[in-house]
């Protein structure tokens, strides 16, 4: 199961579930988290369902660059970290 973890910085706004899900792509992993907390979606994705410009996702330590399709593949035991980019600070 892939695991998705969100930055603690989100906790002052909404719940950030740590989710283990059989997700094959980044988007699928995000959707698994949004299913538990729908409000989280608008904090990570914009109104076009793109990753927000100042949010960054790492898969197994590698930064994802595609913010639109979010179709980076996950391995069966991948770890995804959704962080805030310092560019937004």
């Amino acid at each position: 199961m892939a695991r998705i973890v969100f930055t603690q910085q989100l906790r002052r706004f909404t719940e950030t579930p740590q989710v283990d899900a059989p997700a094959a792509t980044l988007r699928a992993a995000l959707e698994a988290a949004f299913a538990l907390n729908p409000r989280l979606r608008g904090y990570v994705l914009d109104d076009q369902d793109h990753m927000r410009a100042n949010v960054v996702a790492f898969i197994d330590g590698r930064r994802c660059s595609d913010r639109v399709r979010l179709d980076d593949a996950l391995k069966v035991d991948s770890e995804v970290h959704v962080m805030q980019a310092l560019s937004g600070g």
Binding site: F13, G42, D46, D47, Q48, V55, G89
Partner: protein, 360 residues
């Protein structure tokens, strides 16, 4: 005379209360978070709105039904999915910031970057993009003024006819609707864009009004602080004429229209586009009382040396009494006047950069 006002800043929303002759900060909301705009409760008892622009997590809209004691997050305006091959190349199609809010006739309006206007008929619980404006062919030629994308900073609803409104867009001119937003026409004829090639300087579609304000008691009268100077309309924004009598400079961002006297307005001047600081390091507010034929430079109580405050578009507000004003800068200084600007006293000196001030 209003005894409450709100200050939206880079690091929170501050409630001001007037006790006797003095204004003071009484409550803080969203401390640490950028608040780009607020809408005070209508008629003193309605819902208070705060628009946040979180640096990482985007635009959020919050409403309070108890004047700021508690807040609930509401759905922010959202642009619909961008169609495939959407032809307006280079123009964002996603919510960047809520930059203006207005309410009239049971309808709420929100103006945004990148230039979309949203309407809510359910007290802000849901919002719809005003497609009739968003789909104007002219939008293909709008561009950002101070931001990377165009934005609606002014929404002026007719005080007696809630279906009539004028919106100001940097840089997209001014647009008017007389049918509640179902249809729109350009309303910036007479403005001048010196930043364009000369043969396009008069094009109403690419004008950069910084802020447009309407006289509530004489709603055919509008004032505009434009990128290239001061403009006024006396025919319900059908045409604008330039005002050139301001002393020292006609550049600035903010304007406040006297609510009852169509001859009076206040401006917050800076040297020039390329030098956005007070003339000679001395802060002044310009006031006209004769429709722009002449101005007074009001300085009493404002710093007159080593002052580099800039008053942003929504940083100058006048109350319904026409005598009480608030002036707030991006340096975090806040001043109040009780005598139509003749004199000012400092309310606070160390606030975060001030984005907007509103009474109510």
């Amino acid at each position: 005379m209003q005894d409450r006002a709100w200050v939206a800043t880079r690091k929170g929303l501050f409630e001001l209360r007037r006790r006797g002759a003095q204004w003071a900060i009484e409550r803080t909301s969203f401390l640490g978070e950028p608040v780009s705009m607020l809408l005070p409760p209508q008629d003193g008892s309605g819902r208070l709105f705060a628009a946040l622009n979180l640096g990482h997590f985007g635009v959020k809209l919050h409403g309070s039904d108890d004047a700021g004691q508690t807040w609930q997050e509401l759905a922010a305006p959202a642009y619909p999915p961008q169609p495939e091959g959407e032809p307006v190349a280079g123009v964002a199609w996603k919510l960047v910031q809520i930059w203006s809010m207005a309410a009239a006739g049971g309808v709420l309006w929100a103006g945004t970057l990148p230039g979309g206007l949203f309407r809510s008929g359910d007290n802000g619980s849901s919002w719809q993009l005003v497609e009739s404006l968003w789909n104007q062919p002219g939008r293909a030629h709008w561009f950002g003024g101070g931001y990377d994308v165009p934005g609606i900073h002014s929404i002026c609803v007719h005080p007696q006819r809630a279906d009539e409104l004028v919106v100001g867009i940097s840089c997209g001119g001014a647009w008017a609707s007389r049918d509640g937003g179902a249809s729109w026409s350009l309303s910036s004829h007479g403005m001048r864009a010196a930043y364009m090639p000369p043969d396009q300087a008069g094009d109403p579609n690419i004008q950069d009004p910084h802020l447009i304000a309407r006289c509530q008691a004489a709603p055919d009268v509008f004032w505009c602080q434009h990128h290239n100077g001061i403009f006024r309309s006396t025919d319900n924004a059908q045409s604008w004429h330039e005002i050139t009598s301001a002393p020292d400079t006609s550049f600035g961002f903010a304007v406040a229209a006297h609510p009852n006297d169509p001859q009076t307005a206040w401006f917050a001047p800076a040297v020039a586009d390329e030098r956005r600081v007070p003339v000679d390091g001395a802060l002044a507010v310009h006031r006209t009382r004769d429709g722009g034929r002449s101005f007074e430079s009001l300085r009493s109580g404002l710093p007159q040396r080593d002052c580099y405050d800039l008053v942003y578009r929504h940083g100058l507000a006048v109350d319904a009494d026409g005598k009480t004003l608030l002036l707030g800068s991006t340096t975090g200084n806040l001043w109040a006047s009780a005598d139509a600007g003749d004199s000012w006293n400092q309310v606070a000196a160390n606030l975060p950069p001030i984005a907007a001030l509103r009474f109510g």
